[in-house]
Amino acid sequence: MSILSRLNLRPHTFSAACRVHKNRTYSTQQHAFTDLDNAPIVQLVRRKLQERSKLQSETSEDRVSAEDVARIKKIKELEQLQHAWEEWTQVAKSLQETTPLLSDSDPAMRALAEEEHASLTQELSAMVETTFPRLLIPASSTAHMSALVELRSGVGGSESSLFLGEIMRMYLRVAGSYGWKASVLSRNETENGGIKDAILEVKGEGAYDILRWESGVHRVQRVPATEANGRVHTSTVSVMVLPTSEDSEPGKDEELFKMSDVRIEVMRARGAGGQHVNKTESAVRLVHDPTGITVSMQDERSQHQNKRRAFQVLRARLMDRKLEEEMAQRRAVRKNLVRSADRSEKVRTYNYAQDRVTDHRLGWSVMNLLSVMEGDALRDILQALEEKHGEEQLEELLTE
């Protein structure tokens, strides 16, 4: 088995990073090592570690200056990479030692050497494929966050709101399969059993990072149940995935908004109120003046709970804005290859007649619509999107 085919076993695993010259034929195993050793990511690792040793030589012995502290921090951050590199060097050395034995006169020795050589090569390519990328890609700042999934019906009227209900159930199911706790925070139902808009809360480690690629326009093509003459309609639902934390610490909010900027409004007149009225009037609306963001919440039976929920949504929307702004800034500073999700972009098509779901960013089609709606195939799509993101991040690193 050639290295190339081994590298291609997992086409979605950082293929960009491990790009070796595909057209070459491998006459000797020596070439295999050279290709791995010349892979762009290995060069990047070298550069990083050169920087590290430079920093080490610059750090003064007593380690007191502010510059020293910064240097030590950077050195520390690259410590794991240094360890991985030491391992790489070890394995590479063993590989080099094995190579001459491949042409040994003793067939038994040759066989042994071939086996050894293959396993060492595999070890190196695993490092190129996964170990180095994992250590180089910066950790996600939202890795621990849960998600709010906002769904809004778009074009297509009642058909769109019927489809929204199905998309909502799809997310509830996929959340269950990941072991997350999902619930419907709010929903506006239509007369015909559809849903105009809804907000789901998906609680769990990593829920936001995995679901964030769902943001965008989801398009359905099918004959609506309400359509008498069997014509195929196209309708859309827009999805917005926002980051949220389990519980907000009071101090944390201040980074996102000032309490004095938020107007809390109750929905309707209540007459004399108090003991005079026992009708449930729990609806609340928050208006964040600086951004104009408005959140209405009325699904809970207690006003206090609605207020809590509304603040959770406000916080998530502001956090989302903040992340967007940070991304835009980074893009301005250096050429950022990591695409930001354009929320008005069509991300996926669900075609019922063809029993097909196409993800437009991956260029993939799943020829089993039900398995996407049931969550299994959606997980595959989500994983592919996450890997694509990893590749993009790595490409960005490599072009720095």
Binding site: E189, N278, K279, S302
Partner: protein, 305 residues
């Protein structure tokens, strides 16, 4: 199933606006999908809707009402906890941060479901809050005790906890007490241990004239003893202030409140100024403040020394 729900929705829309009908129907469905809150809870959606159409309050039909982090049981005819009360009780809770080493005592007069003291017990630190709730209604006292148990708040076995025992407790406590606060002997008879740090009350405050005009869901289902501000026909002014006079007298004659204590009283529409002056003139309180409710109505009188 959907057809049944849709038919029932139209039935509800005869008595409620469209949006409320959708929400109330969904809440009914959610209760039916979960464990039964009480034996009297309906088992069918048809039955629930029929009760609602007859004017029964939603909260009695559902059997519970959320109140901040608490889920309180609701049983006719005990007064249903109101949104306005939920709002100011949270605000009151923010005024103090008791700890197990600096605990507070709370007395709630006309406690009803127990919503106010139970909320304080749940918001304040464990072992920091020891509350008593007094009510004239046996139904209310039973319900408030059930609510304490349902929300994991301890009920002391031997009645009101004396202050020297506060520090021995690692949980907050609530003591429900049957008693008539207009009977001058009630403080002694109930075994209370004044003075208290916090005195709260949402006493009946609706004037007779307004009582007669109340919606069916209030007047025909909730206890008139929790609503009517002047229980005796003999009260001359008829402005619904009888209980505030009673509370002022209690404050004055029994040394019920600590010097640095707080009195928080819910009031009805247009009563705040009168109640504030009753507290100052008759109750001997030095300072009063008025809090508005979320609808901008004057709702609470806060009195301090």
């Amino acid at each position: 199933m959907r057809r049944v729900a849709s038919r029932l929705l139209h039935v509800l829309e005869r008595v409620l606006d469209a949006e409320s009908a959708v929400r109330e129907l969904r809440w009914m469905q959610e209760v039916l999908a979960g464990p039964k809150p009480s034996p009297s809870t309906s088992t069918t959606l048809e039955d629930m809707v029929a009760r609602r159409v007859r004017g029964e309050p939603l909260q009695y039909i559902l059997g519970t009402q959320p109140f901040g982090p608490l889920t309180l049981l609701t049983r006719a005819p005990v007064l249903i906890p109101r949104t306005e009360t939920e709002d100011w009780a949270h605000r009151l809770a923010e005024m103090r941060q008791p700890t197990r080493h600096k605990p507070l005592s709370v007395l709630d007069l006309c406690t009803g479901s127990g919503c106010i003291p139970l909320l304080l017990c749940s918001l304040w630190a464990p072992g920091s809050t020891h509350a008593c709730g007094v009510d004239i209604s046996e139904d209310a006292i039973k319900l408030s005790a059930d609510n304490a148990r349902a929300n994991d708040i301890a009920i002391p076995e031997k009645g009101p906890l004396p202050p020297h025992e506060f520090r021995l407790r690692d949980r907050n406590t609530f003591t429900p007490l049957l008693g008539n606060i207009r009977d001058s002997a009630f403080v002694v008879a109930s075994g209370l241990h004044p003075p208290f740090d916090i005195i709260t009350s949402n006493p009946p405050y609706i004037p007779k004239r307004e009582y007669d005009e109340l919606p069916v869901s209030v007047k025909d289902f909730e206890d008139h003893r929790a609503l009517l501000g002047d229980p005796d026909d003999t009260v001359p002014d008829g402005r619904g202030l009888t209980f505030y006079h009673t509370i002022a007298e209690l404050l004055n004659s029994n040394k019920l409140l600590k010097c640095d204590g707080i009195v928080a009283l819910e009031v009805g529409a247009g009563q705040a100024r009168d109640v504030a002056s009753i507290m100052e003139n008759q109750g001997g309180m030095r300072h009063t403040r008025i809090w508005n409710d979320p609808w901008g109505k004057e709702r609470v009188v806060i009195a301090t020394n």
